[in-house]
């Protein structure tokens, strides 16, 4: 890092621009907050009729003004109402759990109290053997697991380096030297995470056991029937049917989504990279929040220098890409759908079928084909006898090409969707508009467009988020290339999105830890975008519901 020339790179400029924009937005926000606090003037709300009679630009201004006026209140509401509300809900839930346990301990009979130590005892004692045995089996399994395996793993998990010898070592056993497999921090991390999850699951099961034990006791005291095994099973297809249905999906969710996320969050606090591997000295270990600081500075060891610069640059490009990719597809797809569905155009089905081909042919085939056609010595260059580096030039060209090809991929999807909607617009709307003397342009502006916009907003949001994480298009077209120019030495390329960069960080640079940090930042980005968009679209809907 010391030998880098002290020049301001485009990445740094990008980072500065982003930070400046954020800072400016914050400043405006604080200023507005301040103004709102000092001048407690109320906003003159327009009545509904007044609002409806405004012209569209006045409406926009009015909404903007009202939004600005409401901003301070909304902000304070966030801190004074919404967050305390959440906290209250959380406290209530915790208190509820605590109260159940306390009740069972204080008012429980000996059968219920025994359930604290021997899970399912209450049921066994009340002759509901099946349920009791299930709870007991859970406890036995957990204790055995912890005793034989889990406890040890958990201990190692917190210390990470203690326990066995590091790496593969020779050890003398009974006078014979043998090789012993050393610690594997990656396994420690996995087993530790799994053990933690098991423990949480066990605690939940224990709580359920106490709740159920106490409920059985209450039923008995009230001389009511405690459901037996047969009734329990029938309940599973009726009153408790959701448990049957969701059991498998939720186990899948647990193993294949929640476990990996927890694991990666842990990973972000370690120094797992090409210099610190799981089985060879030095092993990777906990390093606290250092990685999060590194992402904003340029210094990180390992292979990727200038981490902050690259992160800033790719973040900017990811956002630009998502905006262009989403809206170009949306607008152009809508236009294509509208001209295909225009009255008087023949062979509608043919045009549609032609476009739908792109959806039907697997995307990786068409994208790889495109990448070959536009390659340096590819068909397009041969055809015109040119040598344009469509996908490898160090200019803006590869980025433009990627967006253009994405349009080719994306238009048919929008077209299909919008065609479906166009057919669903009630015909009487157009008829009454015609009677009122509206021409085709006016009909389009006042009926077609608002209708489509209204109905497709949710899918616009999802496609925006999908584009933030669009691995396929970028990786198959350019593999993220061209490589970034010196002095950067890592694997990131100029058209890399954060997601493709992650892929390279893991498989080319082996910077697992930094990859998880980037993942967490990506999560923050996507969730922020979707939360804002989601809330806004809801607000729009409530304000001017179409029809």
């Amino acid at each position: 890092m010391n030998n880098l020339p002290p020049v301001v790179t485009s990445g740094q400029i990008a980072l500065i621009v982003v930070l400046t924009v954020v800072a400016a937005a914050l400043a405006v926000f604080v200023a507005l907050l301040f103004v709102g606090l000092v001048r407690k003037r109320r906003f003159a709300e327009a009545s509904e009729i007044e609002y409806l009679t405004m012209s569209s630009d006045r409406k926009f201004l009015y909404r903007l003004k009202r939004g600005l006026y409401r901003l301070p209140d909304a902000t304070f509401a966030l801190f004074s109402v919404h967050i305390p509300n959440l906290a209250k809900k959380f406290r209530k839930a915790v208190c509820g759990i605590a109260r159940t346990i306390k009740d069972a301990a204080v008012h429980g009979d000996w059968k219920t109290r025994c359930s604290f130590a021997i899970m399912g005892f209450s049921y066994l004692a009340r002759k509901r053997i099946a349920r009791g045995l299930l709870f007991l089996a859970l406890e036995v399994f957990y204790i055995l697991y912890m005793a034989i395996f889990g406890g040890f793993q958990l201990m190692k998990f917190f210390t990470m380096t203690e326990g066995n010898v590091h790496g593969i070592q020779e050890v003398e056993v009974n006078g014979v030297w043998t090789y012993v497999q050393g610690d594997n921090t990656q396994l420690i991390l996995i087993y530790g995470t799994l053990t933690l999850i098991f423990t949480v699951a066990f605690l939940y099961g224990w709580y359920k056991n106490i709740k159920a034990a106490y409920m059985a006791q209450e039923l008995e005291e009230a001389h009511r029937h405690i459901p037996n095994a047969k009734e329990d099973i029938y309940n599973l297809v009726d009153a408790q049917y959701h448990k049957t249905l969701l059991a498998v999906p939720l186990i899948g969710l647990m193993v294949f989504t929640i476990f990996p996320i927890i694991f990666m969050i842990f990973l972000a606090f370690t120094n797992y990279d090409s210099q610190h591997l799981p089985t060879t000295e030095p092993l990777f270990t906990w390093i606290g929040g250092k990685n999060f600081a590194d992402i904003f500075t340029n210094g990180i060891g390992a292979s990727s220098t200038q981490f902050g610069r690259v992160f800033g640059q790719l973040l900017l490009w990811t956002v630009i890409w998502a905006i262009f990719a989403t809206f170009s597809n949306y607008i152009l797809g809508m236009l294509v759908a509208i001209i295909i569905n225009k009255k008087g155009i023949r062979l509608k089905k043919l045009w549609r079928t032609v476009l739908v081909m792109t959806i039907a042919v697997p995307q990786f085939v068409s994208l790889l084909l495109m990448s070959q056609m536009f390659s340096d010595y590819g068909f397009i260059n041969s055809l015109f006898g040119t040598r344009i580096y469509f996908l490898t030039a160090h200019t803006v060209l590869p980025k433009v090409m990627v967006i253009l090809i994405n349009i080719w991929v994306g238009i048919p999807h929008t077209m299909l969707m919008v065609s479906g909607i166009l057919m669903n617009i009630p015909a009487d709307l157009y008829e009454s508009a015609k009677i009122d003397g509206a021409g085709p342009v006016k009909q389009y502006m006042k009926i077609t467009l608002p209708y489509i916009l209204h109905v497709t907003t949710p899918s616009l949001i999802t496609s925006f988020i999908g584009n933030l994480n669009n691995f396929g298009v970028i990786y198959l077209l350019t593999k993220g290339g061209p490589a970034m120019s010196a002095p950067y030495s890592g694997s990131a390329g100029e058209t890399d999105l954060l997601i493709t960069w992650l892929y390279k960080l893991v498989f080319q640079d082996n910077s697992y830890a930094m990859a998880s940090v980037v993942s967490i930042f990506m999560f923050l980005l996507t969730s922020a975008v979707s939360l804002v968009a989601y809330n806004r679209s809801k607000a729009v809907k409530n304000e001017e519901d179409f029809m």
Binding site: L187, L245, L246, F256, K342, I345, F364, L369, V506
Partner: protein, 302 residues
């Protein structure tokens, strides 16, 4: 008055002509790559620069080589293409796709029914949880899953099962569109069945499912197409050519040097592309109606 009408008609005809021109241009742009794919797969030019859109020499050799996976002649030498085991990739991907389709469709239907029709305490929190989980980059879970599956031994030789697990594992998060469809089925039907003595399971199987043909087909189609196009997971879990899926194998075919020369590789890649596209395209066009219904019915009602 008459003149005005006629001019209006002329304008109309003019715009239509413009639209037809645009549509033809669009069609050419959209169809062109596929025709190119087909032609290249039948090309015996062996030039490597692919200058000709229409091949100078037509041949089926590319397909034959692809299926036999045998050596091809290049500069007088026989270059081994043992690394191309297209039939095995194809069969494996097809099998994965079929199994994934069955499991994923079941999981999606079941989750959607539970979230749409049943009312339980954890319903809302669960839906919020899935919304939030969906915002984590799918990639983030990938490394962790790789470690986990490696531990259990479901990579490489058994990578197929690992892939099936990965593809179906979190498929319940795709409940959104299907639930949207179920929401549109009138609740009174359920109630009527309940009054007649049906339990919730019977309502699901005998009332809701028979009414959900479009969305079931939509789900099946999506689930089936997924594994064909996945590169990320497939390249991660399986690295040996013998166990690969079509997507990974085809991308590797294009690496110059992997299979001899580029001049051989590209036409064969095209042939492989045609082989992969044909069944899916046929399936897609047969079921297209349902696909459109699925998109418009489930996804866009907000």
């Amino acid at each position: 008055m008459k003149k005005h009408l006629r001019s209006k008609k002329a304008v109309e005809r003019g715009t239509n002509a413009v639209i037809y021109v645009i549509l033809v241009i669009i069609s050419v742009i959209w169809i062109f790559p596929f025709v190119y794919l087909l032609f290249q797969s039948l090309s015996g030019d062996n030039t490597g620069t692919m200058d000709y859109f229409i091949p100078q020499k037509w041949t089926f050799d590319n397909y034959i080589h692809l299926f036999r996976g045998e050596g091809v002649e290049f500069d007088g030498d026989v270059v081994s293409t043992a690394n191309i085991q297209f039939l095995s990739w194809y069969g494996r991907t097809f099998l994965i796709a079929v199994i994934v389709t069955v499991i994923q469709t079941l999981i999606v239907l079941v989750t959607s029914y539970a979230l749409s029709r049943l009312r339980f305490k954890m319903r809302k929190p669960l839906m919020n949880l899935m919304l939030i989980l969906g915002m984590f980059p799918g990639f983030m879970s990938m490394t962790a899953l790789y470690f986990l599956l490696q531990l259990v031994g479901l990579t490489e030789d058994f990578g197929m099962f690992g892939l099936i697990l990965v593809y179906t594992g979190s498929s319940c998060m795709g409940y959104y569109i299907c639930k949207g469809f179920f929401d549109t089925i009138p609740k009174s039907l359920d109630e009527a069945a309940r009054i007649d003595g049906a339990n919730r399971q019977q309502v699901f199987f005998k009332v809701i499912l028979p009414l959900s043909k479009p969305i079931i087909i939509y789900t099946i189609l999506n689930a089936f197409m997924g594994p064909w196009g996945d590169y990320m997971f497939a390249s991660l879990l399986v690295t040996q050519p013998a166990n690969q899926t079509v997507a990974v194998g085809m991308l590797k075919m294009l690496d110059v040097g992997h299979t001899g020369t580029y001049a051989d590789a590209f036409p064969r890649f095209c042939a492989a592309g045609v082989c992969v596209s044909i069944p899916i395209t046929i399936l897609f066009f047969i079921l297209q109606r349902y696909y459109v219904e699925g998109i418009t019915g489930g996804s866009v009602k907000g």
